[in-house]
């Protein structure tokens, strides 16, 4: 009779809420429409009952979330974590795995499991802004979980109507949305990079604390960054009072005078183990071989250099308002950038100077003879004036064009054709690009492939035009290869991998290809072009540098001298030694810098803000310095976390 009253409510309309003797409220059951479907075969009834009985046999040992995943490599420690959280943590946990061990996958598996078991319907996922798209794509593509991205224009209805929402922390905590999303009841809240909520006085912490939720997962590899109170604050979000009050916590667990040094470690670890899972590399026995990287910054051909210089000038001319905005938005406090007044004529003059200079210094072929030179001079004249008659190119367009330029002149062509339709002044650029069929990088690529004939080699390129061109190049040189792109069907992909494994030495691969496939039989990778986002570079390397790889991995980066890619590589490789870091660490380091999580956007900002090559050089040098600082901070944090947590939480 404990709660049969609640069921009886389907018969009688019981108004007042009932409770168990122990005081747990009982919600009134929702009456469901009832109708019978008659059958004449008793077997159908038996089968239906058997189905219900079989469904009940699925305890938490049988995870439902693993079936129907796409391209997700499930590691044993992740599966174990999912089971543990389901069984012992009742959906409130701090997932604090070391970098690169797949916290996001664990959280997504848990989310899927809860949804499949109908234990969760309304979900809010809070992530740093640059990661919203990635979360949505991964949940949709790999876990078959569709989510809505919260937008700044959302009303209370939008918040109320959506079942699964991904929102950036900055949007959710904004004045407009704080109340709206905290007014909604959520079955599960997931907070990625939860160390952003380490401080109780911030709106981040206050938002998460204010959210009405039944379950909550906090994800961070570095729960303690500066002092132990940060950990206390995070755990207070999970279970208020689990570590008692801050005063009690300090008294019991923090060494007086050193807020980073824990005392009563055994007791603290016991308490932490009730709310936290932390897998470490040594614990889960993940030992990856070393990886080595070499960058080839190749001198461009004359015409290539000419094209890049003019393209740079033209784009700067076309995006002057963005340039002004980038400078206006600047908050990094460097002397030149704090001057927010833009001398437009100076900018124009510097662009025109660049063009003239390039005409004077350019070489000997067709486009640099007298007529060609006259053309560029005329253009330089034109570029003295702002492009009043043309729409400003937006950041996305600029980004795409610059990246295409970094890939190959052939990848740049379609963008230039579009620009040419809009503006006849872009015509010469297109003409120049059409005359270029080979870039400096091809020769190096062929050389690398020639030296390495016995090894399987993956060649990555961002653009389809580049891949097609490389396919032709390899064909002409008699190098057997297979092509793998995101647009292929599953069967085509499987065939390509199979061919690569057994028959051909080279696989040309797009960024979207290869995820989820085992390519550990290959240990050499060539980045023919370079994504600006280091996480995407990591994803490329991750195709071969993963569990199961037994040999050292070699990464070759090709870039054109003087290009943005060269500067990015200088920062990531020369300064941060990114290619020698553990998978995932680069993300943590970038996360320690302002706007670092959106590195791609940061690079574009630097380009937009700079007025000359020297400017750009200085800006990248400053970026490198701040990243080194961030790396230092990350290393300190990692040491602190290792000292505090050891390997006791898995």
């Amino acid at each position: 009779m404990l709660w049969s009253n609640a069921f009886a409510a389907t018969k009688k309309s019981v108004g007042k809420a009932s409770k168990t003797p122990g005081g747990i409220p009982i919600a009134e059951p929702q009456p469901e429409p009832f109708s019978l479907v008659y059958c004449s075969d008793p077997e159908m009834i038996r089968l239906r009952l058997e189905l219900e009985k079989l469904k009940l046999l699925r305890g938490f040992d049988e995870l439902l979330c693993l079936d129907g995943l796409h391209a997700v490599e499930q590691l044993p420690h992740q599966i174990e974590t999912v089971r543990k959280v389901l069984r012992y943590f009742h959906g409130r946990v701090l997932l604090a795995d070391e970098v690169g061990l797949g916290k996001t996958i664990e959280a997504a598996l848990l989310l899927r499991e809860y949804i499949l078991r109908s234990m969760v319907k309304r979900v809010l996922i809070l992530v740093p802004s640059p990661l919203t798209g990635q979360w949505r794509d991964e949940l949709s593509g790999k876990f078959a979980l569709e989510c809505d991205l919260a937008a700044s224009g959302w009303t209370s209805h939008d918040w109320a109507d959506r079942q699964r929402v991904i929102a950036s922390l900055s949007l959710a905590k904004s004045r407009r949305h704080f109340e709206l999303c905290s007014a909604e009841p959520w079955d599960l809240v997931i907070v990625d990079e939860a160390h952003h909520c380490k401080n109780r006085s911030t709106r981040n912490w206050q938002l998460v604390n204010a959210l009405k939720r039944r379950h909550i997962f906090l994800l961070t590899a570095t729960p303690v960054q500066n002092n132990l109170i940060e950990l206390y604050n995070l755990l207070t979000l999970l279970e208020p009072g689990h570590l008692k009050t801050e005063t009690d916590f300090k008294k019991n667990f923090v060494t007086r005078g050193n807020p980073r040094d824990p005392r009563n470690r055994r007791v603290l670890r016991d308490l932490l183990s009730q709310v936290m899972v932390r897998n470490t590399r040594s614990l889960v026995n993940i030992k990856l071989p070393r990886r080595y990287a070499q960058t080839f910054a190749l001198a461009p051909t004359e015409n290539e250099a000419l094209l890049y210089r003019h393209l740079d000038s033209y784009l700067r001319w076309r995006c002057q308002p963005l340039h002004a905005k980038a400078i206006g938005d600047n908050t990094d406090g460097t002397a030149e950038d704090t001057d927010t007044t833009v001398d437009e004529s100076a900018v124009l003059a510097s662009i025109a100077d660049g063009v003239v200079q390039s005409v004077e210094t350019s070489g000997v072929d067709g486009l640099t003879h007298a007529a060609g030179a006259a053309k560029w001079t005329a253009l330089a004249e034109l570029w003295q004036h702002p492009p009043d008659d043309l729409p400003t190119l937006n950041r996305l367009q600029i980004n795409a064009i610059l990246m295409a330029a970094g890939s190959h002149p052939l990848a740049l062509r379609p963008a230039l054709e579009r620009l040419g339709l809009q503006d006849h002044r872009a015509g010469p650029l297109l003409e120049l690009a059409r005359g270029l069929h080979q870039s400096a990088k091809e020769t190096q690529l062929l050389e690398l492939l020639g030296k390495n004939r016995s090894e399987k080699t993956l060649v990555f390129a961002n653009f389809r035009a580049t891949l097609d061109h490389l396919a032709g190049l390899l064909e002409r040189h008699g190098i057997r290869f297979t092509l793998f792109t995101g647009g292929q069907s599953q069967l085509e992909k499987e065939l390509a991998i199979d061919q690569f494994k057994h028959d051909v030495p080279v696989m040309l691969c797009s960024d979207s290809g290869g995820e989820g496939f085992n390519l550990q039989f290959c240990n050499t990778l060539i980045n023919f072009d370079l994504p600006w986002n280091p996480m995407r570079i990591e994803q490329r390397i991750g195709r071969v540098h993963r569990i199961g790889q037994t040999r050292d991995v070699f990464v070759f980066n090709l870039c054109t001298r003087g290009s943005l890619e060269e500067k990015i590589l200088a920062v990531l490789n020369d300064k941060l030694r990114m290619f020698e870091l553990v998978v995932g660490e680069i993300g943590s380091i970038l996360g320690n810098t302002e706007k670092g999580e959106d590195f791609e956007s940061l690079v574009l900002d630097l380009w937009l803000k700079s007025r000359s090559a020297d400017d750009l050089e200085t800006a990248f040098s400053n970026l490198g310095d701040s990243l080194i600082e961030a790396q230092g901070q990350y290393l300190k944090t990692r040491e602190l976390d290792e000292a505090l947590f050891g390997e006791d939480f898995a």
């Binding site: 009886a8 019978l36 008659y38 089968l47 239906r48 234990m119």
Partner: protein, 336 residues
């Protein structure tokens, strides 16, 4: 997964797919076989029409194990509504001897004088209900609950599965006798008893969490008042701080209650209706100035007298306390 469960799943899958028109070739002791499925079934199960069928997790074909989506998807092969079947048993042996003594042995009537008036052969519909019961809270509890009731008395009985009764044959029965509310109430009682351990565990946990929460916020209040004393804070500020902590405690307490709130649900999965002969024993009950005739039933399948249902809690009763209007009540309800 144990081998026994493996075998059970396999035989379920084969029977289910074959009943829907599929052709299955899955020899015993083989981990996998082959299936040719009708297009609709293949679409529901999200697999090709000609497919490998296997007990081991695989990207290809139809995986049949507890961790696969098979059971979830197989739900789509059944109608969304409650599956029902109507059966009839034409004849059964009915007790012929006098019923006075069996009634006196089986029933007690503490507040009325009751005597047997006579017996007659009647047809009674017995309803065998199967409910999927679930309670969602901080955890989830699920079970399959079966209840059998006499459609006349609404009393819950314990009778053998009619699907295994060779004398029962398909029939057409009057729809009016189906009372899902009565069955739900009975199922709720059974489910409540089955879930008792689960609920007790949740009660203990909620109690612990509630104590922790209160002690935390009370400690915060103590901290705050100590600080206020030390810093000689203004009374307004002190009061505001105290109020804020109390509000937060209230909010967190509500959140905790919400987290543990039991959300029970009963979904009727299947109903087997059985029309069978029974012996109706007419009783004459007299209490104070009032009197009433009522029937109890001798069940020809269990060969016993059936209980009556308490008019308030629905429990099956042999010790019958009559209410003023002669509604039969159990001892507990009768003394309220």
């Amino acid at each position: 997964m144990t081998t026994a469960i493996d075998r059970r799943l396999k035989s379920f899958a084969v029977a289910l797919l074959e009943s829907g028109g599929g052709l299955i070739e899955w020899p015993e002791h083989f981990k996998s076989g082959f299936a040719v499925l009708p297009p609709k079934a293949a679409a529901i199960l999200e697999c090709p029409e000609n497919t490998e069928i296997t007990a081991e997790t695989s990207d290809r074909g139809l995986t049949i194990n507890l961790a696969s989506m098979f059971l979830q998807r197989a739900q789509g092969l059944f109608p969304r509504d409650t599956s029902a079947m109507a059966l009839k048993i034409d004849t059964l042996y009915l007790k012929k001897s006098a019923m006075d003594e069996p009634v006196a042995r089986a029933f007690a009537f503490p507040n009325a004088r009751v005597k047997v008036m006579g017996v007659s052969s009647e047809r009674v519909e017995y309803q065998f209900w199967h409910f999927a019961a679930a309670i969602e809270s901080d955890e989830k509890w699920e079970d399959l609950v079966g209840v059998t009731i006499n459609s006349r008395t609404r009393a819950r009985l314990d009778l053998p599965d009619p699907l295994n009764n060779y004398d029962a044959h398909p029939a057409r029965l009057d729809q009016a006798t189906v009372d899902v509310a009565a069955a739900t109430a009975q199922a709720a009682t059974v489910a409540g008893e089955k879930a008792l351990g689960f609920i007790r565990r949740l009660e203990d946990r909620m109690d612990r969490d509630m104590k922790r929460l209160k002690s935390y916020y009370h400690a915060l209040l103590d901290d705050a008042s100590d600080r206020n004393r030390r810093t000689m804070a203004e009374p307004d500020k002190t009061a505001a701080r105290t109020e804020a902590v109390e509000l937060e405690l209230q909010r967190k307490t509500e959140e905790l209650r919400e987290r543990y709130t039991l959300r029970p649900a009963l979904r009727p999965v299947a109903l087997v209706r059985l029309d069978a002969p029974a012996l109706a024993v007419t009783l004459h009950a007299q209490r104070r100035e009032g009197e009433k005739q009522l029937n109890v039933y001798w069940n020809a399948m269990s060969k016993t007298l059936e209980p009556l249902a308490c008019g308030q809690c629905g429990r099956g009763i042999f010790s019958i306390h009559f209410a003023e209007d002669f509604t039969p009540l159990c001892a507990a309800c009768g003394h309220k």
